[in-house]
Symmetry: D2
Subunit: 503 residues, 4 copies
C-alpha cells in the first residue's frame, strides 16, 4: 500500500495510528512551506472593502453604480477565493493592490477606482491584521478552554492518586495527581484572562485613520467599525498607525505567557513520563519513535512545545525591538510585525489541542507514584508538623530534630521507628507513640487528608478548587462564544445592509 | 560654594537649575549602587508577619504569649526600620531570616520560633514580592495618569498649532501639535489599561501555599489575604510557587509596553527638538550639556529612556527564559525573577514624572512648525482629495495627476499655480480656479479644519478626542485611588485587630 | 502594457526603474511564501550521501553493487533537482527520508537500504545544516566585502566634503563625509572578522556521530569530512548532537552584529536623507513612493533593515532559549534551530548588496553639508582648543569661556567677533586677534586640516585610514575566496574518487 | 557561638562546610548590594590618566610642573584606593570627574586642569570599559581552562564507567561517564576559542577619539595604546564612540554561549543527581538544604546557573536593542551598556570555579549507572548493527526486526533469547547463536569497546579525545597567560617611563 510505504519508519511499532495534527505539529517546516502572509488576509480585506464601499455610498461619496460594481466584484472574488481560484499575484505588492486591481480590471478605473477614497493602505492593512489577530485570539481562547476542561476532568478522577510533589527537581512533599493538574489549570486560567484582556485592547477599528492623519472625505468610522464587528474605534488617527506593533505584541504577549505555561507542563510530562520516573505513559498517537533506536517512545510534541515557547520569546522580542525608538507615524518596519504575529499564531495554534489529547489519553501508574511518595523522607515536613503538635515543640525545634533523624535513617531510607524513638529520647523529647501509631502517623493517605489548607492537596480541598476553576471556565467560554456571535452578527448585518443598498 | 563646585561642569550655561530627579534618572548607576534586593521587602515582610501571627493566634495555633512577643517585636522592628536603624545582616541569607532571627534573639526560640508555623519561605517570599509589585503597579498608574493629564492639557492649548505629520521620518501630511500629543495620550491610556489588568492578576495572595503543597496546620488563608489587602487568594498551592516568574513578568510586560511608548515619544522629542527640526525647545532643567562642546543642549533623558526601554526588553526576556522549560514546583532559578522585577521598577519608576515635566515645560516654535507644514508638498494628499472632488475625478486619477505636478514643481518647492493649471489643461482636466482660490484651497489652516474624520486633526475633532481621553483618565485615576485606599484600609484593619487581640 | 499596469502605483514619478532585488527586499513575505526548509538542503544531502556511500564502500561495509546503485541514483536525483524536477514529498517527513526512499524505490531495499548504515538522521541533519551555514557564511563575507569596498571608494572621493558630525542627534563637531563612511567601513570590517571566526567554528564535520554515541560500524569520519570540504572533525559524538543550536547561533550572532551595524547605517541614511537634513539624496531605484502622498521618497530599504535587525535579535534569542537548560544529547527542540537559521539568512542575504548600491548611487549635497558645518557653534570645541593654545589657558578655563560666549552669541548664531572680544577682555583674557584672523581661525576647512590625530577627520588622516582598511579588506577577500576554492576542490575530489570507485 | 547561630538553618545536616563562594553565588542579591558601576573603573581610570598625562608631556602639550603634579596626585589616589580610602562622590557624576576634581582640588586648575586636554569623557569612558572587559575576558578564560581541565581529569578516570546516554530525556544508547564529560569539555573549548576571538576584537584602544571626531591637539594615540597594553588602536574616531555597545556585546556574547553550555551541564547535573536517577551525588559543600524539608539536597548552584544563563540572554538582548537604529556618534543610551556588561560579568565570574569544584567533588554510583545501561533495550541499536552484520541484513531490515523484538519483549524488559530466536526464525532470518553467545553479544562492556568510531565512547577512543582536548587546552592557557604578561609588562613600562620623565 502506497500509504504504508510513506508512513514514518518508526510508526510500525506503536499500537495506534499517529494523530496527523501531531505529526504536523512536530514536523514543523521541514517539508511544509509558510504561505505568503497576505493569503491569510484575503477574507478580511474583502470584508473590509465591502464595509468601506457601503459606507462611502451611504455618505454619498461614491455613486450607486460604482457601489454596485464594487460589491458585485467583491462578492465574486469572495466566491472565487472560497473555491481556491483567487490567487494573489506577487507582482501586485500585497493583498490590497491585488483586490483593487482585480476590481479595476473588471469594472474600470471610473467605477472601481473610487474604492480607495478616504483611506490609505496603512489603515486598511492595520484593520485586516486586527481582524486576523482578533479571530485567532478567540480561537485560542476556545481551544485553551478545552484544555482547561480536560485538566479539570482528569483531576476529578485523580484526587486520591498520591504522588510526590517536586521542588528543585527533587521529590519534596506529598501531593496528588489532581492537585498537580489543577496547578496547570489555574495557570492556564490566567492565560484565558490575558486573552480576554488582549481581545478588548485589540478589538478596536483603525479604519478611517488613512495614512495617520485622517481625511477630509466625509467618512463614517462608526459604521465601518460596527459592520466589521469591532467593539469600538481606536480614535486618534496617528495612534492607529503608530500602534502597528502593539496589537501584534499584545496577542504575542498572551501567547508567550501561554507558551511558557505549556512549556512547563511539557517539561513536567517529559520528566514524569521519562524512563526514570514512569509515572505516566503517553498515548501511542502522541509519541514518536526513532529511526535508529526502535525502543524509544519520545515525547516530541512536548519538546517541540519548548521550542515553540522559545520562538514566542524571539517573536515578542522582535516586535518590541521594531517599535523601540521609532518616531511616530508610519514606518515601513511595521510591515514585519505582521509576519511575526502570523508566525506566532501558526506555531501555537494547535498547541492547546495537542495537550488536550495528551491529558485525556495518557495512562497513569498509581502504584509507582504511591511508592515514590512513601519513600525518600518526603513525609519529613508532615512528621515535623506532627511532632511539633504532639510533643509541644516549636516548629523550629521539631524541624531540627527531624533533620537529624533523616541523617540517622539515611541508610534505612525511611523514618525507622526504633532509631527515631531512641534519638528523640536522647534529646529529652517526651514522645508517647507505639510503632503502630508511628507508622499510622506517617501513612501517606492519612497525611494527605490532613493537608487541607485552602488550595492544598487534600481530596476535599482539591474538589473545591476544581469547582472554582470550572466556574471561571464557564464564564470564559460564555464570553468567548458571545464574541464570536457578535462578529457573525456584524457580518450578517453588513450583508443585509449591502443587499438593501443594492436594490 | 561647595555646592557649585560640585555642580556638573556643563550646568553653568543653562538658565535654570537642573532637576535632581532628572540628574539621577540620567546618571544611572555610575556613582549610585543598587541596594540589596531584600531591603525593599522589609516593610512588606513585617506586615506579612503581623498578619500571619495574628491568624495563627486566632486559629489557636500559637499562644497568647507568643503572639504578644511577636507583635511587640515586629512593632519595634518596624519603628527601627522607619528610623533607618534596622539593617539586614548579609550573614542571614534574606529578609525573612533576618526578621525571624531578630525576634528569636529578643524573645527566644520558645516564643518567636513559632512564627514560621504553617508556612515556608517560598510562600512568604512570593507574598512579599507580590506586595512590592502591586505597590509599584499602582504608583506607576498614578504617575502615568499625571503624564496623560499633561499631554491632554498641552493638547488643549495647541489645537491650532499646525505642523507637518511624519511618515518614514519624512514630512507627510498636515496635523497639529495637539493631534500629535493626543496620539501619545491614547497609547499611554492603553498602558493604563494594561496596568489595571496587571494589577488584577497580581493582587492575589499566595500566602499559605507553604512550600507548594499546602500545610496540615489549620491556617486561614482568607484572613491573611484580607489583612494584606489582596483582592483574593491564588488558590492552588503548587501554582502559587510555580508562578514565581509570571507575576513579575506580568508587571514587566506592562512596563515594557509603556517603556516602548515612552521610547517612541522620546524619539519624537529628540527629532523635533533637534537642530534640524527646531519645533520644540526643551526646558533647561531637562537638557544636559557637554564637557567639551559647550553649545550642546542634549536630550539625555530621552536617550536614556530609549536605553531603559531596551533594558525592559532584556528583563522581560530573562523572566520568560527563566520559566521556560522548568518543571513545576519551586526551583531556585525563580529567586532571580525578584531581582529582575526590582531592576525593572527601578529603571522605570521616574520615567512618567520626567516626561510630565518635559511636556509641561517645553517651548514650541509655532511659526517654524507652520512654515514646514506649508512647504514640501505635504498638502499633496489634500490637493488630491480636493481635485477629485472639484473636477469629478476618481481618487486614483487625481492621485496620479498630483504626482506629476509634484515632479513638475520640484524646483519651486510648492504647487505653483501657473505650472499646475497648464499641466491640468494639457491633461484635459476641466478646472475652474483663480490663483486666489488655488492658494486658498491650499492654505494649511483651511485644509486642517476639513480634516474632521473621527480621530483626525481638525481642531474640533481633537477637542472631542481630548474629552474622551479625559473621561477614561478620570476612571483610571479613580480606580487606582480606590485600590490605594483599600490597601490602606486593610492595613488599618489589621492594626485594629492586633490591638484587640493584644488586650 | 501588462508590465506597466502591474508596476507599483508610486513608481511613475521616479526617474529610474526600481531594482527588483530592492522590491523583494522591501516586500518581505506579503506575497512571497517561505519555501519548505529542507528544500534548501537537497544539494547538501545529495553530496553528503555521495561521500558517505563512497566511504562505506571503501571501508568494505557495503558492496560494489550497492555503491554503484546508490551513486547512480544520487547522480540522477542531483540532475533532476537541478532541473527542478525533484520535489520533496511532504509525506516523507524530511529531505533525508525523501532521498533514501527515492533510492529504495528505484534500486530496492537490498541495495539502497544499506545507505543509512553507520549514521543517524541526527548527524546527517547536523551535517546538512552545517554545510548550509558555512556556505551562507562565505556568501555574506563576499557581499559584505563589496559593501566595505563601496564605502571606501566613496570615502576616497569625499575626504574634503565637510559636514557636521553628530552626537545626541545634534550637530556636534566638524567632520567629513569620508570620515563618516570610514566609521561604517571599520565597523563592518569587524563583522568580517566575526564571520571569519564564525566560519572556523562552524566548518567541522559532525558526520559519523550517529545518534550521538558513535557507531560500531568501521566508518572513516576523516574521509567524509575531507570530501565534504570541512576543515576538520567535531570530535566528541555527543557534542556533535548537543551543539545543534550553537552553530546556528554562531552564524546568527555574526548576522546580528552585522544587522545592528547596518541598522545604524540605515538610521544615519534615514536621518541624513530626510527633508530636515537633505545631506544626501537617495538613488531613485532605492526609494519607494506612497500610494496616497505622491511627493514621498521613502527610504523603505533602510526602515526594513531596522526591522530585519530586530528579527535577528529575536532569532538569536530563540536559539539561545531553545538550548538553555536542555539536557545534553538530542532533543527534538533542536529541529527548530534549523528554521531560525534559515529565516535569519533569508532576511539578511541581500542586505549588503542593497547598501552597496545605495552607497554607490546616492547623491551628496556638499554645500548644504558645509553650510550646516559652519553654523550652530559646532566649531566651539575647536575654538576652545585654539583659545587655550593662543591665550595660554587650561583646557577647562578655555572651555568655560567658550561656553559663555555661546550663550552671548546665541541670537547671532555664530561666534561674533565683537561680542567675543569684549567678553574676553572683560574676563581679563589677553587676546590679540584681528577680525580677519578670528574668522580665519574659525574657518571649517582650516579647522579640519588641524584635526589630524590618528583616526581623525583631517583629509590626510582619513586617506591613511582608507588605506589601512583596504589592506584588511584584501585579506578578508583572499581568505574567503580560498575557502570557496577549498570547498569546490573537495567536491571535485569526491567526484573523481567516486568515478574511480565506479570503474 | 555567634558564627553558628548565623549559619544557614539547613547547614546542620550536611557533612562538610558550605563553600562561601557557592553561598554567595546562590544568594544572589538578596542581602548583597550591587556597587556603583564606576567603582570598578577606578584603577583603570588612574592608569589611563597616567598614560595620557605622560603622553601630553612627551608631546610638549603640558608642562613639566603640570605633569609632575598630576602624576604625584594620581599615585596618591592609587595608593588611597588600594587602602580603600578613595571613595567616589555621587555629586561628581562619574569616576572621571571624581579623579579630575580631586587633582584640581589638590594642585589647582592651573596644573591639574590641563589633564583633560585632547580627549573627552567619551573616549576616556570607552577606554576604561575596554580595559575592564579585557581583564574579565582573560579571567574567564583562565577559570574556564580550570573547568575544562577538571572535566578532562575526571574523564581520564571514568573511561570504563558505563552509563546510558540520553536523547529526548530518555535512555537511548550506551556511553561512558568520560564520554559524557568530554562532550562538555569540547563544547567549553569552543567557548575558550570565542573568548580568544573576543579578546582580539576588544583589545584595541579608543583613547584619542575624543568626542568622536578626533582632536587638533598633537596627541600620540600609539603611545597611550602601548602603555595601556592594547594590541593596537581602534582607528576611526567616530567608530570608537559608536561602538560603545559592540565591545560590551562581544564579551556578553561569549558569556552567553558559555552560560548556555553551563546551563546544559547544570541541567545534566540536576537530572543525573536527582532522586530519580541517582547517578551522581553532589558534594556536600555545594548542595543546599531546605528550611522546611530537612531531607533535601538541592542543587541550587545548578538552578542558579540556569537563571544566570537567562540573565545573559536578557543582557545580550538589551545591548543589541540599545544599539539598533541609533544614529552614529555618541548617544547617552550607550552609558547603559556599561552597566549591562558589568552585571553580566558579575553574574558569571564565579561560575567556572563552582563547576570545577563540583566536577572534582561529586561522587559517582557506577553500579547504578551500569544497571541502567543494561536495561531498557538501550542496546537495541547495537543489536541491530550486529544482526545486520551477523545475518547479512541491510540496516533497515535489521532495524525493523529489532523494533518488533522490542515490542515482543516489552514485558521482559530485555532481549529475551528464546523470544528473539523464535521471532527471527519466523521471519526466515538465518541466525546461528547460542544463548551464551547471544548474552555475550549484548554485554555492555563488550558493546562499548566496539563503539570506536572517531569521537565515540569506546575507552581507547575517548582517551584519544582527551589527549586532543588537552592539547588545545594547553594552547589556550599559554595564550591567555601571555596576554596577562603583556598587560603587566605594559604597566611596568609606563611606570618606568613616568619615573624617567619625573626625574
Amino acid at each position: 500500500m502506497a500509504k504504508n510505504e510513506n508512513q514514518p519508519v518508526w510508526a510500525g511499532r506503536l499500537g495506534s495510528e499517529p494523530d496527523p495534527v501531531n505529526i504536523a505539529y512536530c514536523a514543523g517546516r521541514d517539508v511544509s512551506p509558510r504561505p505568503m502572509a497576505d493569503a491569510a488576509l484575503v477574507p478580511y480585506d474583502i470584508w473590509l472593502n465591502q464595509a468601506h464601499a457601503l459606507m462611502l455610498f451611504q455618505q454619498k461619496i461614491i455613486s450607486k453604480e460604482a457601489h454596485q460594481a464594487i460589491q458585485t466584484g467583491l462578492k465574486r472574488i469572495h466566491r472565487d477565493h472560497n473555491m481556491g481560484r483567487f490567487q494573489l499575484s506577487p507582482e501586485l505588492e500585497d493583498v490590497h493592490m491585488n483586490i483593487e486591481r482585480h476590481l479595476i480590471n473588471q469594472y474600470g478605473e471610473e467605477l472601481a477606482g473610487v474604492l480607495h477614497t478616504g483611506r490609505s493602505r496603512n489603515d486598511q492593512s492595520a484593520t485586516d491584521v486586527r481582524m486576523f489577530l482578533r479571530w485567532h485570539n478567540l480561537q485560542l481562547m476556545d481551544s485553551s478552554c478545552e484544555l482547561v476542561d480536560a485538566l479539570l476532568s482528569r483531576a476529578e478522577k485523580t484526587m486520591r492518586t498520591i504522588m510526590p510533589g517536586f521542588s528543585h527537581t527533587q521529590p519534596a512533599s506529598l501531593t496528588t495527581f489532581a492537585h498537580f493538574l489543577c496547578s496547570h489549570a489555574q495557570a492556564l486560567s490566567r492565560d484565558l484572562q490575558r486573552l480576554q484582556n488582549s481581545y478588548q485592547i485589540i478589538n478596536e477599528s483603525p479604519l478611517g485613520a488613512a495614512a495617520g492623519f485622517g481625511t477630509a472625505w466625509g467618512i463614517q468610522r462608526q459604521s465601518t467599525a460596527r459592520w466589521l464587528g469591532f467593539r469600538g474605534i481606536q480614535e486618534n488617527s496617528i495612534d492607529c498607525i503608530s500602534s502597528r506593533w502593539e496589537m501584534e505584541a499584545q496577542l504575542v504577549t498572551a501567547l508567550t505567557f501561554m507558551a511558557t505555561h505549556l512549556s512547563i507542563l511539557a517539561q513536567d510530562i517529559i520528566f514524569l513520563s521519562s524512563h526514570a520516573m514512569r509515572f505516566i505513559r503517553l498515548p501511542d498517537a502522541y509519541v514518536t519513535g526513532s529511526s535508529i533506536m526502535p525502543q524509544k517512545r519520545n515525547p516530541d510534541f512536548a519538546e517541540v512545545t519548548r521550542a515553540k515557547c522559545a520562538m514566542m520569546q524571539g517573536h515578542l522580542q522582535s516586535l518590541f525591538s521594531i517599535a523601540k525608538g521609532a518616531i511616530s507615524g508610519y514606518n515601513r518596519d511595521s510591515q514585519w510585525t505582521k509576519y511575526i504575529a502570523m508566525d506566532a499564531v501558526s506555531e501555537m495554534r494547535d498547541a492547546p489541542y495537542i495537550f488536550t489529547q495528551v491529558i485525556n489519553g495518557m495512562a497513569l501508574k498509581p502504584e509507582r507514584m504511591r511508592d515514590e511518595a512513601a519513600r525518600n523522607f518526603i513525609t519529613a515536613i508532615d512528621l515535623s508538623d506532627q511532632l511539633a503538635e504532639h510533643c509541644q515543640l516549636t516548629f523550629r525545634q521539631s524541624y531540627l530534630l527531624v533533620g537529624e533523624m533523616v541523617k540517622l535513617c539515611e541508610k534505612q531510607g525511611h523514618f525507622d521507628y526504633g532509631i527515631c524513638m531512641k534519638f528523640l529520647q536522647s534529646k529529652g523529647v517526651q514522645v508517647d507513640l507505639s510503632e503502630k501509631k508511628w507508622l499510622q502517623m506517617l501513612q501517606p493517605e492519612r497525611l494527605l487528608t490532613r493537608r487541607k489548607s485552602y488550595g492544598g492537596p487534600a481530596p476535599g480541598t482539591v474538589k473545591d478548587s476544581v469547582n472554582n476553576l470550572r466556574g471561571s471556565l464557564i464564564d470564559f467560554r460564555r464570553w468567548s462564544h458571545r464574541q464570536i456571535e457578535r462578529i457573525d452578527q456584524a457580518r450578517k448585518n453588513l450583508r443585509d445592509a449591502i443587499d438593501k443598498a443594492m436594490q
